[in-house]
Symmetry: none
Subunit: 218 residues, 2 copies
DNA sequence: AAAAAGTGTAAAGAAAAGTTAAAGAAAACG
DNA sequence: CGTTTTCTTTAACTTTTCTTTACACTTTTT
């Protein structure tokens, strides 16, 4: 999420990041940003310090009260003092205007890496694929991914520990909430169906087969 | 709700109105204002024309699409042309900066009187469908929606967290205040009846089935 | 290199879940 | 206490989802 009151700067950042496959939400004030945050989670927040209404530092504080989303402060050079103080409390990094998009993306990626693996709340996001346990919806790169209940549960399990391998038994017992009784192609079929649905929306492969063991998200 | 991007003006209006016992919400952009509106309803909206992001007239249009909340345009003198046009479509009144607080309050009270019956607080509104927990009445696009108690409670639950999926168990335990004992078509029948009633008043679908999981408001 | 074990997927049939009208039961009303 | 309204149950039907099957394919083991 980009929180920046200057419309043209906001749009500039939005365009640049979108071009690099980030999915962004634009907010034009601190309170708007906080409201967005109450509706859904974000992987990272870019926060301008000079905002109408609630000031940037107050916003950062509020955000961190709620959830530990990485915050990168975007500020003008002359706000340095305030910045330093913020870094010691709420913010995770800062960048001064004007900046190179390259640098911004690098800093974003550092923060995202930090945060990965920390499955939080009702929203699991991994590699552009996100799953919302509250609304039972899923999406890839912003496009809606329609899943049936079993498909959803399987993907939910795999995504909650990416790279970890789950046996068919693990999967069965999680998604069916029942004992697993040996050989059964059911899971293979569901995996296949999930892959087919994902294929239509992205080139990236999300489910990997681990021969003789099971499956994992990647 | 005060929609005004200039912080000091927003605060000025806020302070003045608060002092006169109005309860105000501050928004600093059109999109923020619209977001507030999707969460709750307001008795009246003060709308600045010059806004970052979405322009004031566009905002007014969007508001009126949703519900008939009185809008008073707050603008600079030189935006007169646009203002006149707005008055013919979306806005209910206008006032030019700089203005006397006295005048503003007078205009507000005119609009509120127009709109009187302003039941506040226990009102949930979402997408033109509103539910009043105090009077146990509901309406769609201004038309009355007559509901029985169970229907009301079900809709109330779904509407209080739009997009969130509620299982039959959730619904049963909320609306019946009792334990849910497995398979039961009762809820389906009520959902069906609610839909049938809504159908008569609107084309829009408000209750969505999430196969195998439950239902949600959309 | 052949055999065995494991996986992928289309298609068909089975099962589960949902919708709705209508009738009977229960509750509320006057 | 009868009438009216609301709620629940039933049942026929529709839709969606799940499982099975069959066969092709891949990897591992012998």
């Amino acid at each position: 999420m980009i929180i920046e009151d200057d419309q043209s700067i906001n749009q500039l950042i939005y365009d640049a990041l979108t071009k690099h496959d980030f999915i962004c939400t634009q907010a034009y004030s601190g309170t708007e940003g906080l409201m967005c945050l109450s509706v859904k989670s974000f992987d990272l927040i870019l926060l301008d310090l000079m905002l109408p209404g609630m000031s940037g530092d107050k916003v950062a504080e509020k955000i961190k009260e709620k959830e530990d989303t990485p915050i990168i402060i975007v500020s003008a050079k002359d706000e340095l003092d305030e910045k330093v103080e913020l870094l010691n409390s709420c913010a995770d990094d800062y960048i001064t205007k004007p900046f190179q998009i390259k640098e911004l993306i690098a800093r974003i990626q550092v923060q995202l890496r930090h945060k990965s693996g920390a499955a939080q709340g009702k929203l699991i996001t991994y590699n552009g694929l996100s799953i919302n346990k509250e609304t039972y919806t899923a999406s890839v790169d912003g496009q809606e991914l329609v899943l049936t209940r079993q498909e959803f549960k399987i993907l939910e399990l795999l995504m909650s520990y990416p790279a970890r391998v789950f046996s068919k038994q693990d999967i069965y017992e999680y998604a069916w909430d029942d004992f697993y009784i040996g050989e059964d192609k059911t899971i293979n079929v569901h995996i296949s169906n999930i892959r087919k649905k994902l294929e239509k929306l992205t080139d990236r492969e999300y489910i990997e087969t681990v021969w003789g063991i099971g499956f994992k998200a990647k």
